[in-house]
């Protein structure tokens, strides 16, 4: 990776951090537990990386591929479990009719 593209990625990081701080500080305490599990599900985004790793040409570097497959399974648990449990929690928040 060259420095130019690294710096652009840093821009993305810095801006996204600002967005994150501004958005999260607005979340009311009621929603903190769902937020925690929801953002936990989001951090399962490494599943994308796992696909990249496990999809690679199998012949040449089997260990790399196996690690990728394990990562894929683990990340799937994180993503699916996280979103579903968050949804289960949020489903319970109802206003009195």
């Amino acid at each position: 990776m060259d420095y130019e593209s690294l710096i652009v990625l840093i821009y993305v990081l810095v801006l996204a951090t600002f967005v994150g701080f501004e958005l999260i500080t607005k979340v009311p305490p009621t929603l903190h537990t769902p937020l925690m599990s929801g953002s936990n599900a989001i951090s399962g985004i490494t599943i994308v990386g796992a696909i990249v790793c496990s999809g690679a040409d199998p012949g040449s570097f089997p260990l790399s591929k196996i690690l990728g497959m394990v990562a894929l399974m683990v990340a799937s648990i994180n993503v699916v479990g996280g979103y579903l449990v968050t949804d289960r929690m949020l489903k319970m928040f109802k206003k009195k009719k």
Partner: protein, 466 residues
């Protein structure tokens, strides 16, 4: 130009926007569920387009892996008790960290095994960062899980030279990492970094008391975001960076909020040892020398019956007893009798931020009945009966009056201002902070001993009879 590549880049962009919008919508109760849905759509898009773009050779294995993972995840999500949310988050969080480690490691091995491909130092730094942070998140989360679940001794586990040992390990990691950046081909060094990082995850969490685990989990959640972001740098992928930043920010802010509500600094939490004193002074029940007045179920029911306004203060004990449903039933009964009922929610009641809100929502208590501390604190003086159910530290007046108390300065609910306070707990045991509560000896305070669910069920049947 490669069209598939262009499409996949654009899809990543759309996914990033959806993630941000999802988080934004998670900020309002009315839109939160939709926000979570959008966020999951974003995840789906990112996964789908990656599958497409990478021109994966062997879809079968990938689908099997995803299917197994999803099935486990879905099963766990359906089965988990609402009271066990902290454990669930700890578990999942560890998996997130683990996946970061595996991805970075796999990428490292791949590049390394390709002949003639040199690892440049930027890539090396990012790989090391993902592995380091991911590994600490992994083991740290599992220790936290074990402590919450009671598999491991909940109190602070301390031994001599603990901090010194951690410091040495930290230096080892730093040195190994630096060497690795200079000589990225050296796989052995990479495993040293990985091993020590895993160990550090364990050692930094064991000295922290079980009750501080929510703070730890929230912090580790933030780490798992940072690890994902670092992986994004490894793979030159913006979605990973953006979501990593969002999760990182969310974890850090929640950690801050918890620390602030407990009036402790993050450093104080992380250095550990807080749960210890708690374990000592609050272990047995009845040890403290405050004289309390007991009240029976029938009498309690009568007191409720003759009140015109009731404030209910739930705490961790309600979660333990799973008493939220019977409490809701009681609320409805009282409201039918034209008694106004409100819930006072302390920011750190329970063991997670928003814990009480989730439990009461589960029991179908409408969320406009839940009032936050600042709003309700002035209303206690106009309230006839305050029912403290399984709460202890969050109603401890020592936080206001006793500068020597470990929780001094933490904002608490002014329950003692109510005409009558009824406290439902099993005995005289201390709460999380492990300190006595002089409230129980106050003249207007009546103790209703017993498991919260059992006693409340009796109170409700008395009320029905009345």
């Amino acid at each position: 130009m490669d069209y598939i590549n262009l499409i996949s880049k654009l899809t990543y962009l759309i996914a990033s926007v959806l993630f941000i919008i999802g988080i934004k919508m998670m900020g309002k109760t009315a839109s939160a569920r939709k926000g979570n849905f959008y966020s999951s759509v974003a995840m789906f898009l990112a996964v789908a387009v990656t599958l497409l773009d990478q021109r994966v050779l062997s879809f079968t294995e990938i689908f099997i892996a995803i299917l197994i993972g999803s099935a486990i995840g879905a099963y766990a999500a359906r089965k988990v008790e609402m009271t066990s949310m902290p454990e669930m988050v700890a578990l999942l969080n560890g998996l997130g960290g683990g996946s970061s480690v595996l991805v970075a490691l796999s990428e490292y091995i791949r590049i390394n095994s390709e002949i003639h491909q040199d690892i440049d130092s930027i890539t090396a730094v990012t790989v090391i960062l993902s592995i380091l942070i991911g590994a600490v998140t992994l083991t740290g989360s599992y220790i936290a899980f074990a402590k919450l679940k009671g598999i491991m001794k909940g109190g602070a586990i301390t031994f001599r030279f603990q901090h010194a040992l951690n410091l040495i390990l930290f230096i080892v990691v730093l040195v190994a990492s630096t060497l690795l950046v200079m000589e990225p081909q050296n796989e052995a060094l990479m495993y040293v970094v990985l091993g020590v990082a895993l160990l550090l995850g364990v050692l930094t969490v064991i000295p922290i008391g079980g009750a501080d685990m929510p703070v730890v989990i929230s912090l580790l959640n933030s780490y798992s975001g940072i690890a994902a972001g670092a992986t994004g740098f490894v793979l030159n992928n913006q979605v990973l960076i953006i979501t990593g930043a969002l999760v990182g920010a969310s974890g850090i802010i929640l950690t801050q909020i918890m620390c602030k509500a407990m009036n402790r600094s993050l450093v104080n939490v992380l250095l550990g040892g807080f749960g210890q004193t708690g374990g000592a002074s609050g272990g047995g029940s009845g040890k403290s020398d405050v004289v309390v007045k007991e009240v029976g179920v029938e009498e309690a029911a009568m007191i409720f019956d003759s009140a015109s306004s009731v404030i209910i203060v739930p705490g961790y004990g309600m979660a333990v007893a799973q008493a939220q449903h019977i409490v809701r039933e009681m609320m409805e009964l009282l409201e039918k009798k034209n008694i106004s009922v409100k819930f006072a929610i302390h920011p750190v009641a329970g063991r997670m931020p928003g814990h009480m809100n989730v439990l009461l929502a589960e029991a179908n208590v409408p969320y406009d009945k839940l009032v936050e501390m600042e709003q309700i604190n002035d209303e206690f003086s106009n309230c006839d009966v305050c029912l403290v159910i399984g709460a202890n530290d969050v109603v401890n007046p020592a936080a206001k009056s006793n500068p020597g108390s470990p929780i001094y300065g933490m904002p608490v609910l002014n329950v003692e201002k109510a005409r009558t306070v009824i406290v439902s707990k099993r005995g005289m045991a201390a709460g999380y902070a492990g300190i006595d509560n002089e409230l129980f000896g106050y003249p207007n305070c009546l103790m209703l001993f017993g498991d919260a669910k059992a006693t409340m069920t009796q109170v409700v049947s008395e009320l029905k009879g009345a």
